[in-house]
Symmetry: C2
Subunit: 299 residues, 2 copies
């Protein structure tokens, strides 16, 4: 099954204790799509500026990603710059320039409108809705967001949330959104909004699933190599939806396995800046790490 | 097998978003021993002042705890007062009065000197060493500490650590002690000091085990009832060592099970102030929750 992913395409300037990189490939749709492409045929919806380097397109195509839904508009590509301190759990934004994203009117190519597995990566919830409106028979819609949209477009965000099957947020976001510091309580409140399944990404502390009467706790990989956490959440989501699409199975048990696949993909992505680790990543490394995850939790 | 536990006996004054309580039963040895007593015969080493209420002794005895190693000295019992803000992950100390602990010269009663399962709960590392020196054939020594000893008695603390089989610390402490924000890196550094097994307690994020080439990640209970986190780490440790003593099995697999028992005991303890939840806790509630833990992690 094809996975359809919409989100940002960006050029990031990032500083971590391990170095500083300027205008490197990033964006929520990029991280999610590359990660998904290891598991299923992936198609991207997004917008880039005329300055977007051709080599990045070549990289997407080398992963067999359908780029027919990417628009190139005159102007500059979305840019984010930020830094991480010694404790790399928290990204600090220095500057965000929407650039061509502010002109973005997402159009899903006809041949992709019947996509069944959909990931609405972090993006203006109004644009996420525009994509959803063009789909004819989504089977599973997962979505992500960020604090900025919680603060500025709560109403549109709640609309997306109500139409999604699975809501992914990080722990800080779900606490902020539901106005409680207690994660299980926040998750319960989110389920009451009509969401079927909530997955909370906690970075170095793993991920949690909450669904009606069901709870699952996934460990984090013991990450001694951690150079750049940017895109970890998107890699997680991409691996997650990619695995569901590959297997065509959205049972509770398979959703749990998909979370482990997502965690595995994220654990590789943060080992180097941008998508650099994903460029060398081999399928057998993925399966070996999934087996490690299994051993981490057996008791 | 009998578990021997040394640590503080205290009267706590605690404020959380759920209320304020004055001079309630607390202390590391108390929380650990009550928790251990659900699993194995438990003996305590500690000191209380002449003001220590008789009802608390009665409670210990009702749990079949051997109190022959508790000294009563003239003066006041150790007191800690602190508060938790809305986000209850972090205890804030308002005041600590060592009182009779400053006079404490721990003596292990003859009949307890051959104890095989030992937990050195949070206490001055010099006192922890004094207890260790009196034991004739410990089979498994676990120890805990806190930031105060890391900052003020590092040398004595390192001596205890080198003699312990299992070091328990919370995530903040191990980061501080090993001077790195990365938990797997901090754990690796701690193992290099000669520790065989490190268990890192992360409160709402569960617990991690690191040992030579082995890693285990235990989930936290999704704690929607959380009234007072005080003593969670000690309850964890008490359940952990109590289960090991009960089963007499210190294999890697059983240590993992003991971590789940510890997590279970801690999850009950934080449901109410002081030891109040432990007073009503029934063995069948413990086994039911252990089964829940198993379901949280299956994939």
């Amino acid at each position: 099954m094809t996975v359809l992913i919409v989100g940002s395409i960006g050029l990031d300037t990032i500083e971590t204790p391990f170095g500083k990189k300027k205008d490197i490939l990033g964006g929520s749709a990029i991280h999610a799509s590359i990660s998904a492409s290891f598991h299923a045929k992936t198609a991207m919806i997004g917008v880039a500026g005329s300055d977007f380097p051709k080599e990045h397109f070549d990289f997407l195509k080398s992963k067999n990603i359908d780029v027919s839904g990417i628009q190139i508009l005159p102007g500059e590509t979305f840019r984010w710059s930020g830094y991480y301190e010694y404790d790399m759990n928290q990204a600090h934004t220095k500057d965000t320039k929407l650039n061509v994203i502010s002109l973005f009117d997402p159009r899903v190519p006809d041949k992709l409108k019947d996509a069944e597995y959909v990931f609405l990566a972090n993006l203006d919830p109004k644009l996420q809705l525009k994509v959803l409106d063009q789909l004819t028979k989504p089977k599973l819609v997962a979505m992500d967001t960020m604090n900025f949209w919680i603060e500025t477009k709560r109403e549109a965000l709640e609309k997306v949330i109500k139409r999604a099957d699975i809501v992914l947020m990080n722990d800080g976001e779900v606490r902020q959104f539901m106005e409680t510091p207690n994660i299980p309580v926040a998750a319960a409140k989110l389920l009451k909004l009509g969401v079927k399944t909530v997955i909370i990404k906690k970075g170095e502390h793993g991920a949690l699933l909450f669904s009606d009467g069901v709870h699952f706790s996934a460990p984090a990989y013991p990450q001694d190599i951690l150079r750049d956490p940017t895109g970890a959440g998107d890699s997680f989501a991409g691996g997650f939806i990619g695995y569901l699409a590959k297997t065509g199975d959205i049972s509770q048990a398979n959703i749990r396995r998909a979370i482990i696949i997502g965690s595995t993909m994220a654990s590789f992505n943060v080992e180097d800046f941008s998508l650099d680790r994903m460029k060398s990543l081999r399928p057998e490394e993925i399966s070996a790490r999934v087996e490690e995850f299994r051993r981490f939790t057996e008791f």
